[in-house]
Symmetry: C2
Subunit: 176 residues, 2 copies
């Protein structure tokens, strides 16, 4: 796309994302506004137990004022690499450690206005430790479900989180 940046302004520096508004001029001379949520990105884990069941978490999601069932996931800390984040979030949210993390893919959650990229890993060889949740994550419940049960819950609308659907998609399509 051909345009010229006229003005760029960060309106709010958030804990989760910064809100930037750019003013651009198209070749036609028309002016456009572009809003961007600058998000650090994160990691998503598909934790698979030796019996094949997948561990999910049910947690309260403030924007919707309700609980959702999702794969364990979290934001990258400053300068953190995605694999380190995946290892950390798996243990924080579920209490499990994994022997191996295998990269499945990376998704852009909302590329029209947000820079968030989520790196998705399969985690196998799980052993149980202690979870260490952040405040606001207490009350998180763990679920163990088969792939078939998860697919059924996606189709029924009981699971509707995009990263969880993508994680199951990659898992089922990736030969390993």
């Amino acid at each position: 796309m051909n345009y010229k940046l006229l003005k760029s302004q960060i309106l709010y520096r958030g804990k989760v994302f910064d809100h930037q508004v750019d003013e651009i001029e198209y070749d036609s001379g028309n002016i456009g506004i572009r809003e961007i949520a600058f998000h650090p990105g994160g990691a998503v884990v598909v934790p698979i137990k030796d019996d094949g069941k997948i561990i999910l978490v049910k947690q309260y999601r403030y924007p919707f004022k309700k609980t959702l069932i999702e794969l364990p996931a979290g934001k990258l800390d400053k300068n953190e690499d995605p694999l380190t984040c995946a290892v950390r979030e798996l243990e924080e949210e579920t209490g499990y450690k994994a022997r191996d993390f295998i990269k499945l893919g990376a998704i852009y959650t909302a590329p029209g206005y947000c820079t968030e990229i989520l790196h998705i890993y399969k985690a196998v060889g799980l052993t149980q430790g202690n979870h260490n949740r952040e405040e606001g994550e207490h009350g998180m419940e763990l679920f163990e479900l088969t792939q078939e049960e998860i697919v059924t819950m996606i189709l029924s609308g009981e699971i509707n989180d995009a990263k969880t659907i993508a994680g199951i998609f990659y898992l089922q399509k990736t030969k390993s």
Copy 2:
């Protein structure tokens, strides 16, 4: 989750999303900050030609400063219902009209901080009309790919848009 809302402030009313910051008090007495991107939601279309090929669009995505391959999609206009949005966006972005739209599901793109819900429809019985793109959508390219080609491109990382992955997941898992 148990908390009390202390303060809620909209910091910026955007064209794409509003940025709200809430201050909450947990039962413990600790204070938390919650940032929300209020997004109106949108519709995503999986347009399937009579020969089984799926129409995708390649478009410039400003937050990433590059082009991405995605299913046709767009934001809900004020008070617009998702199906009307799907019909409109399919024609605007691809020039196609469809005989039937079948709801496949709805996804939460970033439930930790964003209210966006995307409603996903399968569109069949396509006939070609004229597309009518918004400024900034010129230069959009159309692609026709088989389901197998799309899956291959998701696994190779050539397609990494979450709504597109979810759309293909629903399409493949839904009996119709």
